[in-house]
């Protein structure tokens, strides 16, 4: 018995969605199916299946080739990832990088991490990330016409840049 795609109950309804002539099967339990059908017209949230559909559109001829690629570390194929929506190991982000980037961009609208760094990360990558974060904050500040913060952020960026160039290893 298949499990519901949204929760882990048994799927009792099997919906076939026709999108631009392409049929997709969706398995849902009764509760989620009601929910799904009533929301069908609404703006959908980022959904891996939809992301995959978009990925495939431009790359029809290559799809089978991509699917057979295997991660040398954990042995998962790209096809398995596409089926279950879960990667096999951290190395997959490198092994399937070229195929994952458009997917990640579709999901998050960005491909560069600018959050926290592990404490053990070296100082130089710490500074690089600090720059990425500050630049993203600067962008937001300018968009929001918050010029006071923008000026402060620009100063901070210059400071970090000069530290990076001078390879200053002292803690900030």
């Amino acid at each position: 018995m298949k499990k519901c795609r949204r929760c882990s109950k048994s799927a009792t309804l099997h919906i076939t969605e026709l999108r631009q002539g392409e049929a997709t099967e969706i398995h849902l339990c009764e509760t989620c199916a009601k929910d799904y059908l009533s929301q069908a017209e609404e703006v959908s949230t980022p959904d891996l299946d939809v992301q995959f559909d978009q990925l495939e559109e431009g790359e029809h001829s290559e799809v089978s080739g991509i699917d057979d690629r295997t991660c040398p570390n954990c042995g998962i194929t790209f096809r398995e990832f596409r089926t279950q929506g879960r990667l096999g190991c951290p190395h997959d982000y490198v092994a399937f990088e070229s195929d994952l980037i458009p997917l990640i961009e579709n999901i998050h609208g960005e491909t560069q991490h600018c959050g926290k760094l592990p404490k053990r990360a070296p100082d130089s990558s710490r500074r690089q990330h600090q720059l990425i974060r500050l630049r993203s904050e600067l962008k937001v500040a300018i968009e929001e016409e918050n010029y006071e913060s923008a000026a402060r952020l620009r100063d901070e960026i210059q400071q970090v840049e000069s530290k990076l160039q001078g390879n200053d290893s002292s803690e900030e």
Binding site: C7, E42, L48, R86, Y93, H113, K119, R133
Partner: protein
């Protein structure tokens, strides 16, 4: 750990206090983390999962965090106990129904927890009553730092913290604020609110997260994007919509009060009456009626019951909780009787205080 003792205590997030607690029930932040040297759980066998669980368990005792985290081995629990932890929001349904070595470590106040071997190796969670985004972030960030002293998490310069599903990659953060929105539900304005939230890429879920219905008019608002924004930017994004949602809900409440106070008062008093006297009651009806009474208390139409009692009843009246309290398996009909008795007891008990 004796799970039965938990039935005697209240989770911190049910206290019904904290900023904006007339509408905001609780705030939750979770972080997804994976150990760098192991495959994700989709590709790991029992032995690997066992090693992951052991490593996490071993480091828990020495963590320099203020709260002691006790580990519960989930496979060793019976089904009712697993469901009990789901109802208390300490574990997800996915963890309860999973395979192989897995567990959860949590503090005695149930405000900090670490799920082990769910979709990711670690899911850290901090919960607070009311709107408390900064407190949640401070605590979970400190816990994450402390764990990082002991464990090496999978991390990539460009993609950040690596997760089994690319929808969580980067910060691995999910920031959720649980709101009680009965007036927006009754005035049917809730759909409009959802549309506008979805447009700015915030998700709306029910009480128990993904796929759950909005039982008792509870809704969780949370971020979708986990990459390209810093943790504090994600938090600020969720924070930015809360004042408007509070305003909408409170205005809808005031309008209801002004336009049809008598009708509303009657409706709420009847809900309270049923709860205080019913001999058998379903979970669904309970949630519905408790929601009305909670609204009544917040509007000052009812003053003989505490919000914390109502919050507690939302959880205590769920199937596994009733069976834990009765210390026996109950079928649906017996649960409905036990539920009605528990509610009568708690609500009339408050009266006598």
């Amino acid at each position: 750990m004796d799970l039965d003792s938990l039935t005697q205590s209240n989770s911190e997030w049910l206290r019904g206090t904290g900023p904006e607690s007339d509408v905001v029930v609780s705030t939750r932040i979770r972080l997804a983390r994976n150990l760098a040297q192991f495959p994700f759980n989709t590709r790991s066998d029992e032995a690997v999962r066992g090693q992951v669980a052991d490593q996490v368990r071993e480091c828990l005792g020495d963590l320099p965090v203020p709260k002691v985290l006790n580990f519960v081995n989930v496979p060793s629990l019976d089904e009712i106990s697993q469901q009990f932890l789901v109802e208390r929001q300490l574990i997800s349904r996915e963890l309860a129904e999973g395979d192989g070595p897995r567990g959860v470590a949590f503090s005695s106040a149930e405000d900090v927890s670490i799920m082990v071997n769910e979709e990711d190796h670690l899911r850290l969670q901090v919960l607070r009553s009311g709107l408390a985004l900064d407190e949640c972030w401070e605590e979970i960030n400190r816990l994450d730092d402390a764990l990082e002293e002991e464990l090496t998490f999978a991390f990539h310069e460009k993609y950040g913290y690596l997760t089994a599903c690319p929808t969580n990659v980067g910060t691995g953060i999910r920031v959720s604020v649980m709101l009680h929105l009965p007036a927006l539900v009754q005035t049917r304005e809730i759909q409009k609110v959802f549309h506008s939230l979805q447009k700015i890429n915030l998700a709306v879920r029910g009480l128990y997260g993904e796929g759950s219905q909005a039982l008792g008019d509870f809704y969780q608002i949370s971020n979708q994007y986990t990459l390209g924004l810093s943790e504090t930017q994600v938090i600020d994004k969720v924070r930015s919509v809360i004042p408007r949602l509070l305003d909408y809900e409170r205005r809808a409440r005031t309008a209801m009060l002004e336009e049809k106070k008598e009708q509303l008062h009657d409706h709420i008093a009847r809900a309270s009456g049923i709860l205080r006297s019913a001999q058998t009651i379903s979970s669904e009806e309970t949630m519905h009626l408790l929601s009305s009474v909670r609204l009544g208390v917040n509007l000052g139409l009812i003053d003989d019951v505490e919000i914390s009692t109502l919050n507690e009843l939302f959880i205590m009246t769920q199937p596994a909780h009733l069976q834990k309290l009765k210390r026996t398996e109950l079928d649906s009909a017996d649960r409905n009787k036990a539920r009605a008795a528990l509610i009568r007891n708690r609500l009339t008990g408050d009266l006598q205080d």
